[in-house]
Symmetry: C2
Subunit: 341 residues, 2 copies
Amino acid sequence: MKKGHQVTMKEIARKLGVSVSTVSRALKDSPELHPDTKKKIVEAAKAMNYQYNLLAQSLRISRSKVLGVIVPELTSHFFSSNISGISDTAYRRGYNVMICQSNESYEQEKANVKTLVSSQVDGLLISLSRETKSYEHLQELYDREIPFIMFDRVTEEIPVSKVTVDDAHGAYLAVHHLLEQGCRKIAYFSGPEDLYISKKRKEGYLEALKEFGIPESEARIYVTDLTPEGNRKISLQMIAEKDRPDAVFAMIDPLAIDLMTVLKEKGVKIPDEIALAGFTNNPTSAVVDPSLTTISQPGYEMGKIAANHLLDQLDEIVSDEPQSFVLQTTLVARESSKKKH
Amino acid sequence: MKKGHQVTMKEIARKLGVSVSTVSRALKDSPELHPDTKKKIVEAAKAMNYQYNLLAQSLRISRSKVLGVIVPELTSHFFSSNISGISDTAYRRGYNVMICQSNESYEQEKANVKTLVSSQVDGLLISLSRETKSYEHLQELYDREIPFIMFDRVTEEIPVSKVTVDDAHGAYLAVHHLLEQGCRKIAYFSGPEDLYISKKRKEGYLEALKEFGIPESEARIYVTDLTPEGNRKISLQMIAEKDRPDAVFAMIDPLAIDLMTVLKEKGVKIPDEIALAGFTNNPTSAVVDPSLTTISQPGYEMGKIAANHLLDQLDEIVSDEPQSFVLQTTLVARESSKKKH
């Protein structure tokens, strides 16, 4: 154990194999617990030299009534919907919200955590930057018992509550729909392969193909860095192929729209020659011509659930046992994929 | 004078007809000032029973290195561009940014000011909510000498620096372009008439008409509450008219796009029968069919100028004399207005 390290309730819980809220209740001498359990916990706490965190306690009592939010970017429709859901919920429950954006930078994300903690927010809602691969800044929050939960871009390494969407199933829905339209040579336009959503959406793509008897060896995967130039490059490459796909599932709507632009330039008919589906349901996707078939993510709902759960934890309506909320996506079928039969 | 009221440097400056920075320099015994000026100011400060604001001073010295931002909403592309400009600039200069949204609510805006001030931000950048008609909350900031500036949605009532775009001139550019295309019966689709931008854009609309010899009596103004239903209503009303317009300038892009949807439904050809121009240059406007002619506002630039100016004030690179920055807009001519001659 590090010198000067303060034992936390979470460490006691881990050691005894009980929940943090059980430890918390035992140390508060709650009448709900069995006396034997209480005794076991109190003794372990003493043995581990646990010091009741008075500062954290006093912060919990003298609330600032402010939640802190960290998102990778604010210009994305998805994250701004998350924030609307969080803000509306917080405001309704008497809380204000302060937002920081990490700009997809790990360093900025660490600075954001520090800034919001110094501002004495009562809790945080965090969605990770694309760059974040190590989690000491979150581990520190966790060790200091500052309440937080994660949404959309999460890590399994920190045992807090998480709200995510079922990416693989969303991709499955899109590809299944293209298959139902009669397409059999369906390509997947993927972002960088180490991105979580690239992987998850690929899983759903492969699963739908499998269901229609198409083996993984016949999968057609094109990878782009998601810049307009990168998207254009794989679009031209795909069009030039001899045995070209009859449909494309694009990992995100902006990629689908970049492809659409190239298809139109080259006179390829959508959906007759190539059918298209995206993922996100950006406002733009409804108004492009042809309108884009896509997967709708419940961004507002996600923010609402995340904020309500964190506030429930703060108000001790629910325990701070980590929970996982996985939200379902829905298919929005539009002109870009509907074959006339 | 109110009981317990603390005299501020601003009041001394107002009384003597000098700038606040001159007062500040005099009280700091700066060698830059003429001894007579210094003497006059120091005597006035004594007579007015001025107490040097030690708290404000100490806050200025022990900086949090955080700027607070208040915007009406985050889902708008324009405000999220402002925020990107502010964040990039602040981060480059070693500051972090915390953002609150007012949701177009006056009460929420007041709560935001309070939250950010309690978080001890070094300064604020504020864009007013649609509801805000009284300014005590800003007057209080001003009296407490907490540095802030306003952008886009501003009020003349508080003498701080402001960054705005030239709305009237932008509207003039759009309508002038429609006139150049040969249109002569140009309608203005306006939002609620008490909105600042409704008025300013109307001014530009009328000015362009006047330049082409069209009197105000021939102006065709349709007012909507900017809801999809309201927009649809005035669109149908306009189409049904006997002597209907040959062009429409819509106050904001989403209104132009709602009109476009109705025109397409009714089989009215764009731009041949009715030409269209909007204002904002949302990403959607480039991809609708036909693509929408619009006025581009320098949202990112605006945020950058606002943040740099506030940081220059904090670093005393510039004085805190109120300055006004008015940014120019540009015409983005696309298919919705280009008549083939």
